[in-house]
Amino acid sequence: MTRQMTGAKMIVQALIDQGVDTVFGYPGGAVLPIYDEIFQQNSIKHVLVRHEQGAVHAAEGYARSTGKPGVALVTSGPGATNAVTGLTDALMDSIPIIVLTGQVPTFMIGSDAFQEADTVGITRPCTKHNWLVKETDKLSGVIHEAFHIATSGRPGPVLVDIPKDVQFAKGEYTPKAPSKSHYKPQLKGDMDAIVELVEAIEKAKRPVFYTGGGVINSGPAASQLLRELVGATGFPITSTLMGLGCYPASGDKWLGMLGMHGTYEANMAMHGCDLMINIGARFDDRITGVVDKFSPNSKKAHIDIDPSSINKVIRVDIPIMGDVGHVLEDLLKVWKSRGRKTNTASVAKWWKQLEEWRAVNCLKFEQKGKVIKPQYALTRLEELTKKYDRYITTEVGQHQMWAAQYLGFEDPNRWMTSGGLGTMGYGFPASIGVQMAHPDALVINVAGEASWLMNMQELGTAMQYKLPVKQFILNNERLGMVRQWQELLHGERYSSSWSESLPDFVKLAEAFGAKGILCSDPDDLDDAIMEMITYDGPVLFDCLVEKHENCFPMIPSGKAHNEMIMGEVDTSTAIDAAGKLLV
């Protein structure tokens, strides 16, 4: 079945056919025909953001919290260039989004027309794929293909650039059909490699599961299979920043996050293991520390859908190319059929060691005096919100790492953070995207004051659409993470890392019609957090915290997992005690 319609109508029709219910966007000359079509229908909600970067991050938040692709619509030129950060962010974190950009009419391309930019050229390196559509007849097919590519294999951002004359012209609409695309990533893992991994699992004395965002991208079934595997083998599990929630933080096999600001037990387990099972993670440099010294005595298996991730940074012994869910299913089948064997005695001994590392209690802190410690603020936030249907987004900096350390995630798709790109300004618009997808949920953006200011204009969006997003700002009046590096690595020369001339956040909230809450006393904190949660509308929570708190543990760049800095207070004793426990 085909139908004649304008390109603009086709776009809306294709989005409807793809099951899109929400589009985040910002209009301009080159997308007016599309906005005209959006005006004349009721199937798709359009959220008018206040900056195109916000639209893309909101689409990311929507995607990450639902498992469905997010959609953003922006105009040509500046609209498109403003989308670049979000596209790069989504590429680094493998988030499926579709960005539609307007373009000057085909006959004006190349003439330096008003608001012309080489959008496909600019976004080629920051998209999984992109298209400039020059014929209306091809438009709907390209949009369907764009959804296919964004969501299959390793997910990622795609962009479709649509000249204005293509939007006006009539053409034939091709409905969504089973994809005839050449792009068909392999989902099933190689059986021989899976059997090899099963054999390694049966023999391992000191195993560890090292999991990442790939588990979450694979879908809820993959998290379920992972839980089954961990439960059945009794092996310890850690995860990257991107993987939090794939295994419950309350689970007894959970070691906490690993990496630069990961827990002592997780990093020590990675260093001392004899079998590392990487499931959907990518040996990022924040994870490995210096690669020469990375987990020197382990056999390494790596399950990844992207062949280029395998052997990119760390050479592995058992590479398995495939989708996490599919591979785990086969792995469990084979392992069960061979009698569910593990080296129980040795693994029990390993757990003894792990328990000793756990006992170091690397995340302990002391809340004393009248200044709120950021760790304390997050511990209280966790305590008071964990019973809710809760989604957390973050900005980037110390607060982000503390949120990863002190908040617990029981399920996938509940934690939205900018991992690979580390984009300050991500969290607020992402929280808007999450709230659009989950109107009744409690959505909290754990923010730093500096990051939050980077996309603060979105307070207007939150107000307009009555999105009760809670902005929990850990205000240390510092670019805290930068200040920490300067303290530890640049001789305490604090070059431009003070947040000067900060606004009065309460008044700022009120200027937009939102609620502002200021809290500076630990004794008031619980009441203030409850006030934030129960208020029906957007809240800006200005939590004044200790200004010079550092985030520990920390593996400084260039160091190995067993060379963590543990903290200022008890550093030497903690490490000495722990050092003796080392295998």
């Binding site: 080629r124 400039l132 690669v291 001789g491 305490e492 260039g558 060379e563 963590m564």
Partner: protein
């Protein structure tokens, strides 16, 4: 294990990560990519090489299947085995790339390049240039009283050798196509 002690205020412990070099020996590989013949496809491939810091020794591209809209890109690149593996995997990730072949490892292959040389001069040097061209089976495709343009095809090394010989004989200009390569046999 000794804990890393970073003294506050000290510079000498500044610990920035340097990527370790997997110091294997560099190899030369000829890759043949079958790509969709669409606008921007070459930019995708070249952009990847530039963006990730891979070498391109030579590159040729032309449509090879008009009906199927397919082009063939032949790239000669250089890197440690690990880098070569990464290049192939990264190139394979590009949606418009249908197929990646490493002709250097996938059995025997033949490589050919076409080059044109302009050699100027008179007298003995001119005679010697012509004599050498004959030995190398280069054709004269243009001549004036004081210049020749030779055309030569062959493996890149043969063309390199011919260039070396022409240099003292009045080599004025060179144009090379880059390598085209195919696997041998069926």
């Amino acid at each position: 294990m000794s804990p890393l002690k970073i003294k506050k205020g000290a510079n000498s412990h500044s610990a920035y990560n340097l990527r370790p070099n997997f110091s294997d020996v560099e190899e030369r590989h000829t890759l043949a990519l079958l790509v969709e013949n669409e606008p921007g496809v070459l930019a995708r491939v070249i952009g990847l090489f530039a963006g990730r810091g891979y070498n391109i020794d030579s590159l040729t591209v032309a449509e090879v299947d008009h009906i199927g809209h397919l082009s063939r890109i032949t790239i000669v690149t250089r890197g440690t085995p690990q880098v070569i593996e990464q290049i192939k995997a990264q190139v394979g990730r590009i949606i418009s790339v249908r197929d990646v072949h490493d002709l250097t490892v996938e059995g025997a292959s033949v490589e050919r390049e076409l080059a044109m040389f302009k050699v100027t001069g008179t007298g003995d040097k001119r005679v010697e240039a012509l004599r050498l061209a004959d030995i190398f089976r280069a054709n004269v495709v243009d001549s004036t009283l004081s210049s020749f343009v030779f055309e030569i095809t062959g493996a890149p090394e043969k063309i390199d050798a011919f260039a070396e010989l022409m240099r003292p004989l009045g080599l004025a200009d060179v144009a090379r196509t880059g390598v085209a390569a195919l696997s041998r046999g069926e």
